[in-house]
Symmetry: C2
Subunit: 313 residues, 2 copies
């Protein structure tokens, strides 16, 4: 494991990929590695990219990567795959993407599979971000759909958040208005060659005019056609400008502390449940409890209290 | 609280709404009420409706409600609002929906706001479903976007899952293929008057042909135009047919046990973290830990272990 850690710190791809797989498999050794890597984190810029399915987030992330490579920055991409709770694996499209960049040693792409129902997505994603950070990647793009509590938590921990929309979603703007607004540092109207792009742009402008935004940053709106690379350079410049703003105002440090707190609480949440269930599952206690609950002889609320009592909390 | 419970059991709407608000506010008294209500649950049919933003899930849920009301069933709708992690409230559209049905005493609609970053969405949603169940609603529609770990967990606990898609999403079918496939009991191509509906239908058929589906149920595909009510009757009949199948094969009981287990584990997860953080937060221990982590003097993995040790786990 010591050797694996050293290889990750030297930026070796195979070692990083191996450690990420161990993390996803919830290996105990991986935890030891993460402890050792942690002091080497904190340098990378974290950029979240979020938007509804079909908005072209992945293509945009790919083109942004090209743009950042052009100015000499190394890039890590973490794609949180919303479809994986069932399959436990990355979807085909992500595998193809990895091949596309696989010859560039400055790019590392990892798709996150969501697993088991005791959570872990946010925790595992944060771990993968930390690995890319410790590897020395300058910029890490974290790509998720903009819905889902865990997914949103993941994006919230980025220092810069890009919210992507597309023309003609209608209700979507309404949803954005109610929701994503507060985390967006930059907006993108992707597929801007489609009908209704100007309308979507205007809707966003009006929304921004009506919203009290805090501090000295008004989220700019970019029109892009990611498939053709249009508008991507401007977006990349906008991201860099936001990073400069965050650093200047001391907001980056603040976000970094929030990020650590979120990572810690996720970890704690995961470990606590695991340990507690392990401790009480001896002698088939759990199965017995489930059967009684299914027969309505015991309610799950009292059962949970009983477990808390047994583990001394 | 005893009176509130009795009023809920008598199907009183104000009482139910009040209890739901207490639940969302994580009130301790609400927990006592949930314990008492639990033995009155287990009768309702639970139907999950999931699909991407803009696929018309809400309209479909409304029209299905009308259809089920026509055959004399009482209906509860739980709309898990994907945009709420930020605002803590239901979006406007949902409020309008509630007004639409508000004159019908056979319908109860509740939008779920996602709160705080220590989770709770799945737990609170399950509680609301249990309240509707104890109230005596025959059928409970649980409506969520088909992405997001917690959101998917919520739908997984339903006895019948309807997956909604719309023509022209392209990538979406790919995502369905990789992901939602395994939970879908029925598929819907909504907005079926749009270009590409036949193609989407065919894509789903081909996908189903290629997938090994377990047991004796091949998910049927329905074309609907929810805004006009087209195809909704057939879909409602399909849902009833699936419920009959589940009952006949003993699969409903199996699902019900899984549901109880999921609810219990969610509860446990939530309580454990809350209690543990409470216990160690005395004397500013937590803030001190966060500061050390932010300075990279302490890694969050070791910090979590330290907390586990302190609470004796």
């Amino acid at each position: 494991m010591d050797e694996l850690v050293n290889r990750v710190l030297h930026g070796e791809y195979r070692a990083a990929a191996r450690l990420m797989t161990l993390i996803e498999g919830q290996s105990v050794e991986a935890l030891a590695a993460m402890k050792r890597l942690y002091s080497h984190t904190g340098q990378a810029e974290l950029v979240g990219i979020t938007g509804p399915p079909g908005s072209g987030k992945s293509t945009l992330a790919d083109k942004l990567t090209e743009e950042f490579r052009r100015i000499g920055k190394t890039v890590g991409i973490v794609a949180v795959d919303p479809t994986s709770p069932f399959t436990g694996g990355a979807i085909l499209a992500d595998r193809l993407r990895m091949q596309r960049h696989s010859l560039d040693p400055g790019v590392f792409i990892r798709s996150m599979a969501t697993r088991g129902h005791l959570g872990g997505l946010a925790r595992a994603t944060n771990d993968v971000v930390n690995i890319l950070d410790a590897m020395g990647k300058d910029l890490i793009l974290i790509e998720t759909v903009g819905v889902g509590q865990d997914e949103v938590e993941v994006v919230k921990t980025a220092y810069t958040s890009v919210v992507v929309t597309v023309p003609g979603l209608g209700d979507e703007i309404q949803a954005l208005k109610a929701g994503i607004m507060e985390i967006a540092d930059l907006f993108v109207v992707n597929k801007a060659d489609r009908e209704g792009a100007d309308r979507t742009y205007l809707d966003l402008e009006i929304m921004l005019d009506q919203s009290p935004f805090k501090g000295g940053w008004r989220p700019p709106i970019y029109k892009t056609v990611a498939t053709e690379g249009k508008g991507v350079k401007e977006l990349a410049e906008g991201i860099v400008a936001h990073q400069a703003y965050m650093g200047r105002e001391g907001l980056r440090d603040q976000k970094a502390t929030e990020r650590v707190r979120a990572l810690f609480q996720e970890l704690l949440r995961e470990c606590l449940t695991k340990r507690a269930l392990e401790r009480i599952s001896i002698n088939g206690t759990l199965d017995f409890l489930y059967q009684r609950m299914a027969r309505r002889e015991l309610d799950p609320y009292s059962a949970a209290e009983e477990v808390l009592k047994r583990v001394g909390l």
